[in-house]
Symmetry: C2
């Protein structure tokens, strides 16, 4: 006891919960997860968000489960080192293939976008038949079908590989994108009909797709579930349950951004997903 | 000299050149380079082609020069181990960023698609102003501008990031693709005009783009240079120069395919690029 006056390093974690906002780690392989952060920002007063985009190692989709799990676990650990007390896996591929590995590796609550999207669809669907559009990798994992079956829903999944490049090209409100969306969704409707399903709900199973929600809603009559919004709702619910949501007086939410590659591209494209400028992105090296 | 009757392991490399076809290694980060192999196949009688797609480590485009060079050199060495006596770098990113590293690392001739495409454009262009469409990474490297300047051409480069996903979706002869091509190329024409250029030649600076040649040629009046064809021409020229092209009696060309990941996807998509079915793809591990 030679330095009794020094504060303990972890002192901030001991403050009463209602005097500061919780620290929430948000993880994606890229910047699509910023649509989840965008939904989170207004939902919890005074929360501190730590966002990590593992851009150097994307795309996760083409890699093996073991590799994806290794990348996702190292990313989750990094967010804990930065002080995260709650993790949101804002990446469909990592939610599909690595969420149990992440839960086994870190001692904080972990929430993935697939389970929250499906829970929301369960509340919305009357027929019990839902449709899911996602990337190749997410569809091949059948994670949405598996999660849907657990809550009594039947899900028909379709890969829409052109939608991410169209969003990244910035063609959000563009006739080409409207036509591509029309082709994919009319194909999906025909497949559902051929399978004898009567779908009433469409889940956006990729964190890039919320930017296309207006064009999608102009194309179909189904209820559209944005997993980003569903996740934000579930995070507030879980934090409120453990008394970790402070009163509004603690002020507005703050964010800190980390990326493993191409900070300039992250800032440029990220602003489109977050819906506001990103001042600073810190480069971090998580190894190969 | 205890086993004088055993043939030497390398005996086949000692055969007179005109009794067998040369062994040509063709390398790409994926399967786009198969358009180059497609152009090579009919061009050299009896050649033996060894194709490597480094699919586990793609896309190269988003990685640093040092990493791309490391991947490309290990891929080139693998092809030499398989017997390649001549290397074709059928990958624009590797040609742009790693060709000198490859040349320094292997003792055989190395030809890249950028230099051959630009040489062909030099023969074709009257005005001396050429246009190049390519991926983001190739455009950012300005390798086509640099190579063009060396032969007295002025090149205007444009990234067309939607074209690779459209080709990989199989939308080759599709109204959406025609519209995307029209938008990109009319944008490029406007940029050229604003820069005071009078272009007469368009170089397809990505090995995916030859599949879109018909739709591109329906859209513009420029001469279209397919680097795949230009490369095949240059390989036969160089091999003829060193007397390594056998007479036609040695029979038809053979091919062997290697990929570092996703053999099934390689076979499925690769057939589209090669223009014929691919019977067998061998999986190879080149490490991280």
């Amino acid at each position: 006891m030679t330095e009794p006056s020094l504060p303990a390093v972890s002192s901030t974690t001991l403050e009463p919960r209602n005097t500061r906002g919780p620290r929430i780690g948000v993880f994606d392989s890229g910047f699509g997860g910023l649509t989840v952060l965008k939904a989170l920002l207004p939902s919890i007063p005074g929360a501190h968000y730590i966002y990590l985009g593992d851009t150097a190692r994307l795309p996760y989709g083409s890699k093996s489960q073991a590799t994806i799990a290794r990348y996702a676990v190292s990313s989750a650990r990094f967010l804990l080192e930065q002080g995260a007390e709650f993790l949101v896996i804002a990446c469909n591929t990592a939610s599909a293939l690595a969420i149990e590995d992440i839960r086994a590796a870190v001692p904080v609550p972990v929430l993935g976008v697939i389970e929250t999207g499906v829970s929301q669809a369960r509340l919305t669907s009357d027929s019990g038949d839902i449709l899911v559009i996602a990337t190749d990798a997410t569809v091949e994992s059948h994670a949405y079908s598996t999660a849907s079956r657990k809550v009594g829903l039947t899900a028909l999944e379709k890969a829409c590989p052109l939608l991410v490049p169209l969003v990244e090209e910035g063609w959000i409100d563009h006739p080409v994108t409207a036509e591509v969306v029309r082709i994919y969704l009319s194909g999906l409707a025909a497949e559902a009909s051929a399978a004898g399903l009567t779908p009433d709900t469409l889940v956006l199973g990729c964190t890039h797709y919320p930017l296309l929600r207006p064009v999608i809603e102009r194309t179909v009559r189904w209820s559209v579930i944005d997993a980003a919004e569903a996740t934000a709702l579930e995070v507030s619910r879980q934090l409120a349950f453990v008394g970790a949501v402070p009163n509004a007086s603690v002020g507005k939410a703050t964010s800190r951004f980390f990326a493993t590659d191409s900070v300039a591209k992250f800032r440029r494209l990220g602003a489109m997903f977050l819906g506001q400028p990103i001042e600073e992105v810190e480069l971090v090296d998580l190894g190969g």
